[in-house]
């Protein structure tokens, strides 16, 4: 398949990019830092042993005017477009976001408004081609509001709602939308936090994501244990949530 991957230079996206080329897919990496994109593209090219097409195009999640050109370039470089995958997002600790309004605005813009605007560009293009798959990383923290992830969780809750709606409306027309809800995954993004039980590794999460894309699973919890953790969490009464600190 021909996949555009936004956020493939780091963390889960890096692991997913590697898995995609190893499984025989063509990849166009989208991201902000062009030099860094090229280094990641080289990594993928060497891993694919020259067998797959790997390219890169500039796309900045903080600047929505870059979205359409980035997707057009990706389509051109790939010679088509089957999958659009978004693993990019911003994270910051709640305390930091509470004291830094500019940071809070950037996080909300990146994770909610602009991710959705990017998806809208992708939706149009995939539908125009007769369908495809849009796979976006949301988060378990969008399932239930918790003290340490209020703003981040809110941005992801909104994103999850959008992705679900998109899938309801357009699956019949050939556009599958996949909302991935990773639990705690050990990456650079979470490096400052102490990992809870059931923390996942990016390589394992990437495998789950690719399987969900191939099967068309509309909502994926990964690592799988988080489905049950969140089932409990969603059903905890308010007075409990008010007390717990995680």
């Amino acid at each position: 398949m021909k996949a555009a991957l936004l956020g493939g230079t780091k963390g889960i996206g890096r692991a997913l990019g590697r898995l995609l080329v190893e499984k025989g897919h063509d990849v166009c990496l989208l991201g902000r830092d062009v030099d860094d994109l090229e280094r990641s593209a080289d990594d993928l090219r060497i891993r694919s042993a020259g067998g797959r097409s790997v390219s890169a195009a500039h796309c900045d999640l903080l600047r929505s005017e870059t979205f359409a050109p980035a997707l057009d370039q990706a389509t051109e470089k790939l010679g088509g477009l089957d999958w659009v995958i978004v693993t990019a997002a911003t994270f910051a600790p709640q305390e930091k976001l509470e004291s830094d309004r500019a940071l809070a605005r950037d996080l909300l813009t990146t994770n909610f408004t602009n991710t959705i605007l990017f998806c809208e560009e992708a939706r149009e293009r995939l539908l125009a081609r007769g369908g495809g798959t849009l796979c976006v990383l949301s988060s378990v923290s969008g399932d239930r509001a918790r003290k340490p992830v209020i703003l981040y969780g809110a941005s992801k809750a909104g994103l999850s709602a959008y992705l679900e709606g998109l899938d309801h409306k357009f699956r019949g027309r050939g556009l599958k939308t996949i909302s991935v809800k990773p639990g705690f995954v050990k990456t650079g993004m979470t490096a400052g936090l102490s990992p809870p039980p059931f923390a996942g590794e990016p390589e394992g999460v990437a495998k789950d994501i690719l399987a969900a894309i191939e099967r068309g699973t509309p909502a994926l919890y990964t690592p799988a244990t988080w489905r049950w953790v969140m089932l409990v969490m969603r059903n905890l009464p308010r007075f409990v949530m008010r007390r717990i600190e995680f």
Partner: protein
């Protein structure tokens, strides 16, 4: 003062100090003003631990991209955090392998350079550093410097085996080796004492690219140092199975074993099993990971030593000390009461590498795992005195207990290395717990 909730960091031997790793894919940014970088933390002692008061070490493990590979020469360039395990996963099925491998694949390229690792093929290929073409370092003043055997050679050879103290290793470029198949042809031979085992190692070195000996650390008297010699080569296409070796199932030691699990009797039983068990193994073609990394199949095997932790003592006894040096060393070891070890490995080393502090030199290398207890310092002191008397030296990547005065006595090369280090880092801003302990760096 460290409170109980202060994060702790340890090497593979699990002797912890207050410390924490910081992570980023962006190694250049992460190493600005860093005291020390650390890879996968497989050095046994305190090589990868912060100096007292240092606390944070920069972890390279998220910087793991392959940057360039030349199919014709095998030259590969990657970020320092790329693990040997991942390298082998990607390249062995394409018939490429690392030129030199230590006994575990849970190491990073940066760590392999810093410790200038050696392996079963030392008698043929030397250390890893001999195959390194170029390094990219962040040096103490903040600059990013390329060095190689031709460019800034002093910095290069001080960094190869320099335990990460000359600069933060950002990128490594080295030559991979072509292999005929990804499988190994292996055979074993048993020897009744250490002299015969060493003789067997030297004899096998002529015809076999990979050799290593395992010693029964419990045998005494006439059987002192009896053991099994393991030798191998890459299998030829005619004898190898079709296809690539499958991923191996791995096991995890789930919890710390209580300290009493490893005792004289259990270790004795284990050693006897290996020594006598060899008769069932004929020459055969085996999975490369079973040959190169038998212990890696058991994840977190360091837990079998329990919460007290353990150390490894590895030294090289030079050829100049004569053929009976190994026997004398084992006698000292038994006398010091340090022999209750379930892992004792022996290997013949060939020519010394160019790394200014590189460990191997022509002679016999012996490595022994020792559970830590109140007498460990005394045992290591006794062993170090014996090694100094033989003109040998120890391997810093394994060490937790060596005293500065003993290390100085073993290392006439130290002055030259320190001179280069100070040229690049006059304030000694890059330090480790080990450099404070062994080199006398300011804490």
């Amino acid at each position: 003062m460290p409170r109980p909730e202060t994060p702790q960091l340890s090497g593979w031997g699990r002797i912890a100090v207050p410390g924490r790793e910081i992570f980023s894919e962006d190694l250049r940014k992460l190493t600005e003003n860093a005291t020390l970088t650390r890879g996968l933390g497989r050095s046994y002692g305190d090589s990868s631990l912060p100096p007292p008061g240092g606390f944070e070490v920069a972890s390279t493990v998220l910087a793991d991209r392959i940057l360039a590979f030349d199919e014709t020469t095998g030259s590969l360039r990657a970020e320092a955090g790329l693990s040997l395990r991942e390298l082998i996963r990607v390249f062995l099925r394409r018939s490429w392998f690392t030129p030199v491998s230590p006994g575990t694949e849970y190491v990073t390229l940066g760590g392999m350079v810093a410790a200038d690792v050696h392996g079963k093929n030392h008698h043929v290929e030397g250390t890893f550093g001999a195959h390194v073409e170029e390094l990219l370092l962040r040096v103490a003043d903040g600059r990013i410097v390329r060095c190689s055997p031709a460019v800034e050679p002093d910095l290069f050879w001080a960094t190869v085996g320099g335990m990460g103290l000359t600069g933060h290793i950002l990128e490594v470029q080295f030559r991979m080796k072509r292999v005929p198949t990804p499988w190994i042809f292996e055979e074993r031979e048993r020897f009744g004492n250490v002299d015969a085992l060493i003789e067997g190692l030297k004899r096998s070195a002529k015809d076999w690219p990979f050799t290593v000996g395992w010693i029964d650390g419990m045998a005494r008297g006439r059987s002192l140092g009896r053991g099994v010699l393991n030798r191998g080569r890459w299998a030829e296409p005619s004898e190898a199975p079709k296809g690539a070796p499958p991923p191996l199932r791995r096991f995890t030691v789930p919890v710390d074993f209580p300290n009493w699990v490893l005792n004289k009797w259990s270790i004795h039983a284990f050693n006897a099993l290996i020594y006598h068990g060899h008769v069932w193994t004929r020459p055969r073609v085996i999975h490369p990971e079973i040959f190169w990394y038998p212990l890696d199949r058991i994840l977190r095997w360091n837990r079998i030593y329990g919460p007290r932790g353990f150390t490894q003592y590895q030294c090289v006894l030079p050829d100049s000390a004569g053929p009976s040096a190994a026997r004398r060393f084992l006698d000292v070891l038994m006398g010091a009461g340090g022999a209750d070890s379930f892992l004792c490995v022996i290997k013949d080393c060939s020519a010394e590498g160019k790394g200014m502090l590189s460990f191997p030199r022509p002679g016999i290398s012996i490595a022994i795992d020792l559970a830590v207890h109140s007498g460990t310092q005394r045992i290591v002191d006794r062993l170090n005195e014996a090694v100094i008397a033989e003109g040998g030296r120890i391997y810093l990547a394994k060490d937790s207990f060596t005293r500065a005065e003993h290390f100085r006595a073993m290392e006439p090369r130290l002055a030259k290395w320190s001179q280069v280090r100070r040229r690049w880092d006059p304030g000694l801003s890059i330090r480790s717990a080990q450099s404070v302990r062994v080199l006398g760096d300011p804490a």
